[in-house]
Symmetry: D3
Subunit: 185 residues, 6 copies
């Protein structure tokens, strides 16, 4: 698995959730988590969550940190959703160093009752992907600013979150290779 932090700004428009985006962007031929910073303006044709699409939801933010995760080891919907929830919990754990009263509900994080994040997960015939975005600043929704994370700390935070998921993944791969099958009653 590769862990990559892009150093240039990139707007998330929903095309990045497509399978093989990492390969097209940076010749990544591995499972990967790629973090970058930029606005968020998801075009209707890239909306994966039909609830958003149906409600004509605007998924818009001027400044976010984004994480794009891709795994090629399985195309099981249940697995990518379990991983998405685990990633959300990891983000909460990392942010708890700044504010320890964040609330996680499924794939959403809340600060002071305000939604701080957006996320989606799905699969194609060749890979599974997760997008997770956190507002850096926002007039209406929650943001890193509300948590007390200033602009200078954002890059470090991106690295910390991406690295935590990477480490969790590696750790799981190790653990599942030392457990024998279950007995059966």
């Amino acid at each position: 698995m590769k862990c990559i932090i892009l150093d240039k700004t990139l707007e998330y428009d929903g095309s990045q959730i497509s399978s093989l985006w990492a390969y097209n962007l940076a010749d990544v031929q591995a499972d990967s988590i790629i973090a970058f910073r930029g606005g968020c303006d998801v075009k209707i044709e890239h909306m994966i969550d039909l609830e958003d699409k149906k409600q004509g939801d605007m998924i818009f933010s001027t400044d976010m940190v984004h994480f794009i995760i891709e795994h090629f080891d399985s195309t099981d919907l249940k697995l990518v959703y379990a991983r998405q929830r685990l990633f959300t919990a990891i983000v909460a754990e990392v942010l708890s160093e700044y504010r320890n009263d964040l609330i996680r509900k499924g794939d959403d994080l809340f600060v002071d009752g305000k939604k701080l994040t957006v996320s989606i997960a799905s699969t194609s015939a060749v890979s599974q992907k997760i997008h997770f975005g956190i507002n850096v600043m926002h007039d209406y929704y929650g943001s890193l600013e509300d948590i007390g994370i200033c602009n200078d700390d954002v890059l470090k935070l991106m690295e910390k979150i991406a690295k935590s998921y990477y480490n969790e993944f590696i750790d799981i791969e190790l653990d599942l290779r030392k457990s024998r099958p279950l007995d059966v009653i």
Copy 2:
């Protein structure tokens, strides 16, 4: 999925990790999370983690709360390990109401640098299972007592943790039924 809290004490000896234990115990014909309280003394023949077995590790505690999770929807090792990590994060979230400085490392929780929990996950040909135990009191390892959870609150805690995992599972099952497949670049 069923969420069950046993009202009688039961010692975890490792046989409970076997597939179909819930059916044998209580005719449960559903995915389930079952919580109970009791000692922990895992016999060598029931050890699933070969690292423990190899090291002749004693998995012993006089008083724990135990959670036994069983899913029949897949026998994928990767899925049960992602679920185990997610469950561990959920336990940390619930306990954070009492102490918000717990540390999660993979499937372990630590309080004041002391290991608080034991856990294992694996599969048979018919189901996947997770055991997760938390010391209620312990002379050497961390315990609920260290977190400030008194005896009277243990049952409530068991219910809260079990219910949280149950709700997460239901929420995931709902979410994955409104996401369309990924585009491909």
Copy 3:
């Protein structure tokens, strides 16, 4: 699993076989069987069975009862086809109360040598689906009319068939949760 009978007429044009149709129609976030009544006029671009497409088959009927089944628990082609055949057998069983000389050949039912039904099954990256349609009246093909089911009984029939499949599914889910793995010679 949800079992839904639509009370308004709807023409089956082939778009209903798409994944997530149930969510778009009625916010269904569950495996489901949805029954409705209406004409059938499948557009060439919605034809899933390439044999029909190739032969320029007209899949047309002015009045049918339709069943749309969606499962998100697997995208295995073999499973959805086994379920389609099972559903066909269930329809035959329900109809046998009216006429017990129906013939099932794969996913087709015949009455007096006339084809009574149309059906298709397939998968996308996120779900598996089955369409099954039964002529209510037809000049050339077999119909419920031939079986002696009058207009007033059609709704009851739709409910009975949908409920039977629902019950079968629930029953299977229960049964597979009490069987231990096989021995091996």
Copy 4:
């Protein structure tokens, strides 16, 4: 897939449900349905259905026709249970030529309110298997005799049922090779 009718009597003692029994018996290196006639006396250690085991159920009959199905194409529990239900429906269809008032409930058939059959399905790490037994004669339970099938017709019946499942399997394998993937809304 092979379809084999054994010409010598064999008692079903539960060992025949083990994976690879067909290979051991007759060097069968294919998916298979094997039919034979003989008593039924399942030893407790071969009971796959834990409900039977728990209740100390005696699975006993002096004269049955048995069908043993083995597939190596998947070890998915959901698939083998869907196939078991489909097989049960097929048996009912074949028997309906003699008596058309048989009732199927899940994997059981009933005649005159009396249970006519026993069945179990499960998987190992290498194959999935189904056992299905029908009483030829029985003092208490239903039997082929009740249906009006005399001793001389039993062999023909065995062939007809086995061949019907074989044909259904072949037909499914053909059908799933001409259906394109689903569209997605």
Copy 5:
């Protein structure tokens, strides 16, 4: 599995890698390997390998032998890639009768340091496919001519390669039906 040698020339333009091409071409309702001879000119919209697409690679040859393999038994990427490598090794084995100094690197064969072949593998929601092309003559790349295979022998070669893969597949299907599951330490 079907093994088919087309007797008329056909240019490979990349559309043949689509799922269900064999059914559309020749009503093939089976896993299949189809061999044909013709030019190669892959349109950009049919390029499956994004490396080729990215580099604007021209996949062009005036005279090749082509093999198109389709399996419906799984949509696992890992399996189709293992099969692609195995097929490449089989081609090398067959060609070794003419020249035994061919080099295989992954899915490529080289003669005298010149690339002799092109290949791609992928999956859709319903099948897995492999394309493998070998230059018959080529000014720049390696070709059958370099190996000493003249025009008259090309058809025989096509038959031999296709038949070898077919036999390997059948042999694997037999072998996996006589092996018991592994023990576990």
Copy 6:
């Protein structure tokens, strides 16, 4: 994936085919190929191939090189058998530097009409494994000696074969991460 050459002699008695042998031997928590040298004397209770077991085959050799491959990424029988065949082809390729007239038939290699190798593949609920053994010397069967590989070259050969499979595996994992899903006709 780890590639390990044991420097001490070890007799293959069949226990090494068990899942998690590599972990027990050397704390390997990765997919792995482990090569070692030693006799071969497979006990009847460790025979995986029932044909051998049935025929009371003696799988015996005084001096072999052994390769034990374990993958935890899937428990699909079809995948482990495709990998076994691919490994066999790789061994033939490496040995072709010494003798280029070896014959591969499935998972067997032959030199001068004499069988040179033994191999088996299977799965448990947690991993898939392959054993492949090559006679170093043998009175009756083929051996490395027949190929012209002397004792001093055996270690180098073990390294070369193990490394070739390792490289092939890595190469496949890279390749499958740059291919988009198939189109569908």
